[in-house]
Amino acid sequence: MTARNTIPRRRPEWLAPAVLILPAFAVVFTIAAYSAFSLLQLSTVKLTFGEPFRNAETVGLQNYQWLLTNQHSTFWATLRVTVTYLLGTLIPELLLGFAIALLLNRKMRGNSLFTAVLVIPIVLMPSMVGLIGRLYFSYDGLVNYFFDILTGIRHNWYGKDLALLAVILVDVWEWTPFFILILLAGLQTLPVEPFEAARVDGASRWQSFTLITLPLMLPLVLTTLILRFMDVLRLFDVIFVMFAGGPGTTTTTLPLYVYRTTLVQRDVGRGSAASVMLIVIIVSLTVILIKARERIKFEA
């Protein structure tokens, strides 16, 4: 019998892709499973931060119940701050970003230099951005200086009324370029034909913008919003360094709430329960948004 006659033993088809994915899968899911297990366990105990884990006392779901129903819990107030922060950052960033992307989407010298400059705020170290924001928004800071010139009034940005706005403005400065760069890339790859046809038909520039540009850009706008949504919802460093959630609870978004419950109030159990809820909120809302986006894509 020669080798030619033997039927080659074929390896099953799934083997190669499975082996290739295995290292990534093993590493990522081990870390995730270990953390998830530990987090869920911590969320069901009563434990003061700093004490060893053996002092933990199992309390079941009481931590969750306390956060959601107890009158002293600030969880719902935190959610309100979080929603304000989300809307306060995403809406201006989208509108400004779109407008500036349109502005940059013209033939003009220096355009590539401008987009290079816009990369800078996005990649700066967030903790440093927070600290710089703190100085710029101080009473004698840069922001008040320009307010002084324009309106003759200086504001107390560290106070209860304006702290959240200050944090929002820092984010708008940092992340509007994100919208600009992505939407500009989208504008530059729009097909030319519909615009030419519209011009032949005598459409005004405004009409071709609302009837052609906007619908064609919608999927990209939604993708960008979803990505930013995820990031804003989990943002911690900038707010932590600027105001650490204060004054009072005025800048305490969900991630700050997790930190304050665990380390300031030293309640590991409730902090972990809040963490679990943060993860559930972020993942489920993002899944819903991705699904909704896919539906719109099909209809368009």
Partner: protein, 278 residues
């Protein structure tokens, strides 16, 4: 044809507006860098001093000599470089698998990775704190290097998958027809072609780790402390030491800004997990 005067002045105005807008975004950064060279009194001056001050290097001397900033830069570099290399090493085979093979539940698994990427660092950092303590790995480089993989590997897979899918599979197939094994075809043809994308991904992961705050802050104390967490040293009881802080921010952000400008071509894909091509 007569040039349309109104539209020319109109577009001039828009040009000026564009330049103004871009300067608004650049200005806070420039002011930060220039403040690193101001004396203490000049930093606090009201109205702020924009130019005409005598540059001083005292804050840079201070952070290098007294605050040992090089130690924290070394930690940041070790952690960022190791975590990035490990990520790329683990992710390339997985990426290839997602891009080139067909198997059951492929997109489901890909989204599984993506969902893990969404988990906020702050939400598991205290669980990781207890884990680190129980493994005796608190305040070590290796713990941060490994923990960052949870976010880096899914990111790298999503990022690089687009680059591999952009390389025509026919190139590999023709090499295989010529007798090359699948691995050889990958090594000789696909790998060189995706090198640019891999480099860009690596740089962006490096930037992410270099800048990361919450995990580094709560999982280290003295030994493995990184650059972004040094901000705590500037917040003293007698107020914030702004000069050294600006100097540190200038030095800490410099490599990242340079890197980001190098991979600008890939930046749009990078920001969108490869969902949008720039």
């Amino acid at each position: 044809m007569k040039p349309n005067l109104r539209s020319i002045t109109g577009s001039r105005l828009l040009d000026i507006l564009t330049i103004f807008v871009v300067l608004v975004f650049l200005f806070p950064y420039l002011f930060m860098v220039s403040s690193a060279f101001k004396s203490r009194l000049e930093t606090f001056a009201y109205p702020p001093i924009f130019w005409g001050f005598t540059p001083t290097l005292e804050h840079f001397e201070n952070i290098f000599n007294d605050m040992h900033i090089l130690f924290y830069m070394k930690n940041s570099t070790i952690i960022a470089v190791c975590s990035t290399l490990l990520t790329i090493l683990i992710s390339i085979p997985a990426t290839y698998s997602f891009a080139r093979f067909r198997f059951r539940n492929k997109e489901g698994i890909a989204y599984g990775f993506l969902f893990l990427q969404m988990v906020p660092g702050i939400s598991i950092v205290f669980a990781l704190f207890f884990i680190a303590r129980s493994l005796d790995l608190f305040d070590t480089h290796i713990f941060l290097i490994v923990v960052y993989l949870l976010w880096n590997v899914p990111y790298a897979i999503w990022m690089m998958r687009g680059f591999v899918e952009g390389i025509p599979v026919e190139l590999e197939e023709s090499a295989m027809v010529d007798g090359a094994s699948r691995f050889k075809a990958f090594r000789l043809i696909t790998l060189p072609l995706m090198a640019g994308g891999v480099a860009a991904t690596a740089i962006l992961i490096f930037i992410g780790v270099w800048n990361e705050f919450s995990l580094a802050f709560f999982l280290t104390s003295t030994n493995a402390r990184t650059m972004p967490t040094t901000i705590a040293f500037f917040m003293t009881h007698s107020g914030i030491k702004w000069g050294p802080m600006f100097a540190t921010a200038t030095i800490g952000t410099l490599p990242v800004v340079i890197f980001a400008l190098i991979v600008r071509r890939y930046f749009i894909s990078a920001l969108t997990f490869g969902a949008v091509k720039g």
